[in-house]
Each structure stands twice: as structure tokens, then as C-alpha cells.
């Protein structure tokens, strides 16, 4: 499959923007008074949301994996980097006329669960809703390798298969569920083997290779959108940092992270595009400069948004006696 040049460039710019957001998030986390609750970064895993978003249509439902990947929702229409940073810092986006943090059904996100995987059935519900409403919206539900073992994922895949719902499950296998290696929690090598048991197609793909990801996701989304039912994509990647900033990572073999960083998606994609003659050094400098300006402004704007007020929260939460 030939990926159109425009698409390749769009994904390149988005990957640069995503990477710079990864960096910005750490900067904001360490900024006095930002009040960011914690930071679980998706550094090095950015190719996945970039390739997913390049395949989504307006109205599709997409849940990125865990708390780690939600900030990359800014890649979708209707969201901005500012929204992502503000959401991480508990700011009141309603006040600036924005959407409601990471929940906005019209923009394709209906929330996320801190108890991992418990949001999967909700996204199956969104897929059911699309089917009943006879809309062509599809749903992509993404979770990590740790979450993929949880019961709600099983139930979700069972129902989605039985009803041939327009949903694609994606497992981002970043090799660790918090501190536990995927090798300890699976008896299979290829996580996409599970798809067969549910009765829909499954495939693993290099999750650090933008073009390979794009092609697999494109094939799966087209199939699902045309009534082919669910699918499972496993994106093989690596969490180069700890589960969260405070993680001391005693469980990680020395040198493993450095070895994987050699395969990180941005440098690889950049090189491929240069080899293909699609971008030059100048394009790289420009893309980085633009993204950095966007991120700096987003950071400033986000921290200028007031915190959610006590009265507003109580009112919105509908205290029913």
C-alpha cells in the first residue's frame, strides 16, 4: 500500500508535536504551582496515537491507552495541546469555553477509568450505539498489556464478537504492567493470538513504526467500518521510563531501556522520510520549531486557566439527598 505523501507529512508533524508535548508535560509537572497530580508519560510510545488519529473520521470514538496516552488526544479535531495540559493540572476547561476534560461524546471520547480496563464496556456501548443508530462511526479502544488481562476486556471482546460490533481493540504492549514484565503475565508470545479465541482477526505490529502501524490500522478500520465486526491490533512498543515519575524502576534490567530507545519512533520515521526524499533537514527544524512554539503557548494558556471551584463542582455533581 502506498501511503499518500500528504498523510505521511501529516503524521510526521503530529509525531513531532506529540513528542514535544511529552517533553512539555514534564516541564509543566516540575513547574511550581502547576498542581499536576502526577505524571505517567508516554515518551517513546507516541507513534500509536498518531497512527490511530490518522485513520479516524470525525465522530469516531477513540480511547487512548491508560492515563499515559490521554494527553495525545490533542491530535483529534476539537482538542488542543492546551486542553491536554490543563486536564492534567485539574483546570476548569468549561470556564474557557472548552470541552469537558477527557470526556466529550461529540468529540469521540466518553471517559476513562482509573480502575484499568473498566472503561472497555463503555466503549463497546458506544459501538453498540453507533450500530443501533445506523451510523458509520467506529470505535477504537486502546489499553496496555497489563490491562488487557483484566476481566472487563474479556467480557467486552465476548459481546463485541457476538454482536459483530464496529469496534477495534488495540493493545499497546509496552512490555510492562506497572512493574511487572509482560513475560511474567502472559504464557503466549504474540498477544494477538487471543483474537482467534474470540472469533475476530488479530495482528501484531511494530508499534514504533509509524508507517507499519498506519497500514494495519487502516486495513482494520476499513474492515470494521464496512460491517466486518471487531478486530484486535497489538502494537509492540516499550515504556522507556518508569510507570510514573516517582517509579524507581528496580524491576528493569540495566540497559534494556537504552537498547529500546534506539528503536524509538520519531528518529526512525524521520530517517525513513528523509531516505524517501519526503522531508529535508530544514523541514525537521521547522516542524520542531513550530511544535515547540505551540507547546510553549499551550503550557502558558493551560496554567492561566483557573482551577475548578468548589461551588462549581458541587453544583455540577448534583448532590442528591
Amino acid at each position: 500500500m502506498e501511503i499518500p505523501k500528504e498523510k505521511l507529512l501529516e503524521m510526521y508533524r503530529n509525531l513531532v508535536r506529540a513528542r514535544i508535548l511529552s517533553e512539555k508535560l514534564y516541564e509543566v509537572f516540575t513547574t511550581e504551582g502547576s498542581m499536576m497530580q502526577g505524571l505517567h508519560r508516554g515518551l517513546g510510545e507516541e507513534a500509536i496515537p498518531v497512527a490511530v488519529c490518522a485513520n479516524l473520521k470525525k465522530g469516531d470514538y477513540y480511547k487512548p491507552s491508560g492515563v499515559r496516552m490521554h494527553p495525545y488526544l490533542f491530535l483529534r479535531e476539537g482538542f488542543t495541546m492546551r486542553d491536554s495540559i490543563a486536564s492534567e493540572c485539574g483546570r476548569d476547561l468549561e470556564k474557557v469555553g472548552g470541552h469537558q476534560t477527557y470526556v466529550s461524546p461529540e468529540l469521540g471520547i466518553i471517559g476513562k477509568s482509573g480502575v484499568l480496563g473498566e472503561d472497555a464496556p463503555m466503549y463497546v456501548g458506544a459501538a453498540l450505539s453507533a450500530m443501533v443508530r445506523k451510523s458509520d462511526q467506529i470505535t477504537i479502544y486502546t489499553c496496555g498489556d497489563g490491562t488487557a488481562n483484566r476481566a472487563p476486556l474479556h467480557e467486552s471482546m465476548v459481546v463485541a464478537a457476538a454482536w459483530k460490533l464496529p469496534i477495534i481493540f488495540m493493545i499497546e504492549n509496552n512490555q510492562y504492567g506497572m512493574g511487572t514484565s509482560v513475560k511474567k503475565s502472559y504464557a503466549i508470545e504474540d498477544l494477538s493470538d487471543r483474537a482467534k479465541a474470540y472469533g475476530f482477526p488479530g495482528q501484531s505490529v511494530d508499534g514504533n513504526d509509524v508507517m507499519a502501524l498506519y497500514e494495519v490500522i487502516k486495513e482494520y478500520t476499513e474492515r470494521t467500518r464496512s460491517g466486518g465486526g471487531p478486530g484486535l491490533i497489538v502494537a509492540e512498543t516499550y515504556r522507556v521510563e518508569g510507570h510514573m515519575v516517582s517509579d524507581t524502576q528496580l524491576y528493569r534490567p540495566k540497559g534494556e531501556s537504552a537498547e529500546w530507545w534506539k528503536k524509538e519512533p520519531l528518529a526512525r520515521y524521520q530517517k525513513s522520510l528523509m531516505d524517501m526524499g519526503i522531508i529535508t533537514d530544514k523541514d525537521v527544524t521547522e516542524a520542531e520549531k513550530e511544535a515547540r512554539a505551540e507547546a510553549d503557548k499551550a503550557g502558558e494558556d493551560a496554567l492561566a486557566i483557573p482551577f475548578l471551584e468548589y461551588e462549581d463542582y458541587i453544583k455540577s455533581a448534583l448532590d442528591v439527598l
Partner: protein, 331 residues
């Protein structure tokens, strides 16, 4: 059949509410285990598949978590789903979905859009079926921030409250009681009616004591009140109908008249809803507490698991005679 009213059992009434609301609004859909194949757990869904077809009602695999989660997801994306969970005990399998997702997360996320979800399941105390089926978990849900809880005791209430639940834009947990399903038929108006949440119903007027109850226990309380009446004790029976929101004003008004308060429920006593009712009463009417003629009492299931035994269960759950004797000790 009369022109203005028809005779309905409790379960006919719920079925009729389902149909009327599905007819009225095509966004209303329902799914759950055996809702088509076995017509629900006890004929709740008879005829719905035939009338509305496969898009509007679906048999799910045995997936309680998915039933609740899907209802939430579908409710946020344009439908008005009814998730049917058969036994209330099965809700335990989906506790995260019910309690954290449906009840809490939407507030936490700042989601201010509609979340029109009804979870319908039944409680079934009285058949000796054991805790895995007969648990009455309403207190656990009353403790959840964002759920409305409905527990009707008559066919009339069951229909009007179900219709309100389906039209509500907030999540509602609706507990029907299996012990009432095939009881005596009631006359129900043929014209449409709805019963608002948070409006208790005085099922029997009296002046000597206020007995507050809900769900099937209201029937036992009414039977006890009849017996007490023969001995000259006139009990007022308040049926809360919905626990969240709770109509404490009707309780206060009644206790101000009678000077005595007894609460009766089928669920276990420790941590039960009776404690919440009493505290709400005391907060709402601190002065009335001072002039009461006897200490407040509660009757509820013993603080043990319901054993799977038809012989044992009546000893664990309050019976008519227990209510009669408790009242006699208070007046």
C-alpha cells in the same frame, strides 16, 4: 376489563412501562441475560422482542460488567438504555461499573451531559434461595454519590416509577421485588401516569406510630398494621418508594403526628438504609426528636448471610409477627 382501569400484577405493570416507553421513544433500548430467550428472569420482558425487534432488545452473553458498562457508553452516545441484570446479587459482579463508573466517574470527569441509564434487577428475599441470589444491596448503592435508587412495593408504583426512571437523564437503579411479581392484581389507570422520585406515599394512615418501609416489606408492614388495628393500635405506613432521592419531609410530617418511628427493611441491619433514614429524620426535625413518645427502632435482617434454606430464612428476615410485637413494645 373496565374502561378506565385494567388489572395488572406487579410484573405486568413493569412490562407495560417498558413497552409504553419504548413505543414513545425509539432511543430506548434494552439488553441483558435472557431478556429475549427466557423473557427476563420472570416475564419482565414478555413480548418486547416481538413488538420492537432485534435492534431494541438484545440477549447478552453472561457478562454483567459489560451490561452495565455498555449501558453507560450507549447512554452517553445518544441512546437511552435499560440494562437488565436479573438478580441484584449479579450486580456485585459489576460493582466497579455500577458504583465507580456510573455513580462516580461522570461527576469526577465533569461530564454534564445526559446519562439516561436504567439498571433493572430484582431482589428476592423470602424464597430461601441464599445470599448469592437474595442479597438486597440497596444500602451499598445509597452510599454512592450519583445513583438514584427506586424500590416500588405495588404494581401502580412499579409502573409509574419505571416510566420516570426511563425518562430520567441520570442513572437510576431500579429494584423490583420477586415476591411481589405475581401477587394480587391491582387496578391501574389506562391513561398514562408517571410517579416522581423523592415522593413517599402514605400507604395507610394512622395516629399511634409511623412505620417507614419500602419494597416488599411494605406488604408485611401493612399486614402487621391490620393486625395491630384489631387491637386498637393505629399505625401509619410510609412507603419511601425511592431511597435516593429520599422524601424525608413525609416521614417528618408523619412522626410529628404519631410521635413514634419504626423502620423496617429486608436488607441486613448493620449499615442498612434504616440508619440513614433515622439520621435524615433527626437532621430535618431535631425538635421532633425531643418530643417523641418512644425511642426510634429498626427491624431488619439479622447481621448474617442469608442461608440457602427455606426453613431458616424466615428467622433471619423480619416477619409480620416481628413487626407486630416490636410495635406493641413501642406504644
Amino acid at each position: 376489563m373496565a374502561e378506565e382501569t385494567r388489572l395488572f400484577t406487579y410484573i405486568d405493570a413493569i412490562n407495560s412501562a417498558y413497552r409504553e416507553e419504548m413505543q414513545r421513544d425509539e432511543r430506548v433500548i434494552m439488553f441483558g441475560e435472557d431478556v429475549i430467550s427466557m423473557q427476563g428472569s420472570a416475564r419482565e420482558t414478555t413480548g418486547i422482542f416481538e413488538q420492537f425487534g432485534p435492534d431494541r432488545i438484545k440477549d447478552t452473553p453472561i457478562v454483567e460488567e459489560a451490561i452495565v458498562g455498555m449501558a453507560m457508553g450507549a447512554g452517553m452516545t445518544g441512546l437511552r438504555p435499560i440494562g437488565f441484570l436479573m438478580f441484584a446479587s449479579l450486580m456485585m459482579c459489576a460493582f466497579d461499573q455500577v458504583w465507580l463508573k456510573l455513580g462516580c466517574n461522570r461527576q469526577e470527569w465533569g461530564y454534564r451531559g445526559p446519562l439516561p441509564v436504567v439498571l433493572h434487577c430484582m431482589v428476592i428475599g423470602g424464597t430461601g434461595i441464599g445470599m448469592d441470589h437474595a442479597v438486597s444491596p440497596e444500602a451499598l448503592l445509597v452510599h454512592c454519590p450519583g445513583l438514584k435508587i427506586v424500590m416500588p412495593s405495588t404494581a401502580y408504583d412499579a409502573k409509574g416509577l419505571m416510566k420516570t426512571a426511563i425518562r430520567d437523564d441520570e442513572p437510576v437503579v431500579y429494584f423490583s421485588h420477586r415476591g411481589l411479581y405475581f401477587g394480587e392484581k391491582e387496578a391501574i389507570p389506562s391513561e398514562e401516569y408517571l410517579i416522581p422520585f423523592g415522593k413517599a406515599d402514605v400507604k395507610r394512615e394512622g395516629k399511634d406510630i409511623t412505620i417507614v418501609s419500602y419494597s416488599a416489606m411494605v406488604r408485611k408492614v401493612l399486614a402487621a398494621a391490620e393486625e395491630l388495628g384489631k387491637e386498637g393500635i393505629n399505625a401509619e405506613v410510609v412507603d419511601l418508594r425511592s431511597l435516593v432521592p429520599m422524601d424525608i419531609d413525609t416521614v417528618v410530617k408523619s412522626v410529628k403526628k404519631t410521635g413514634r418511628l419504626l423502620i423496617v427493611h429486608e436488607a441486613m441491619k448493620r449499615g442498612g438504609v434504616a440508619g440513614e433514614i433515622v439520621f435524615r429524620f433527626m437532621e430535618a426535625a431535631p425538635d421532633a426528636v425531643k418530643t417523641m413518645k418512644s425511642p426510634i427502632k429498626r427491624l431488619a435482617a439479622k447481621n448474617v448471610a442469608l442461608i440457602r434454606s427455606r426453613k431458616m430464612e424466615p428467622l433471619l428476615i423480619p416477619q409480620i409477627q416481628d413487626i407486630v410485637e416490636t410495635v406493641k413494645g413501642m406504644v
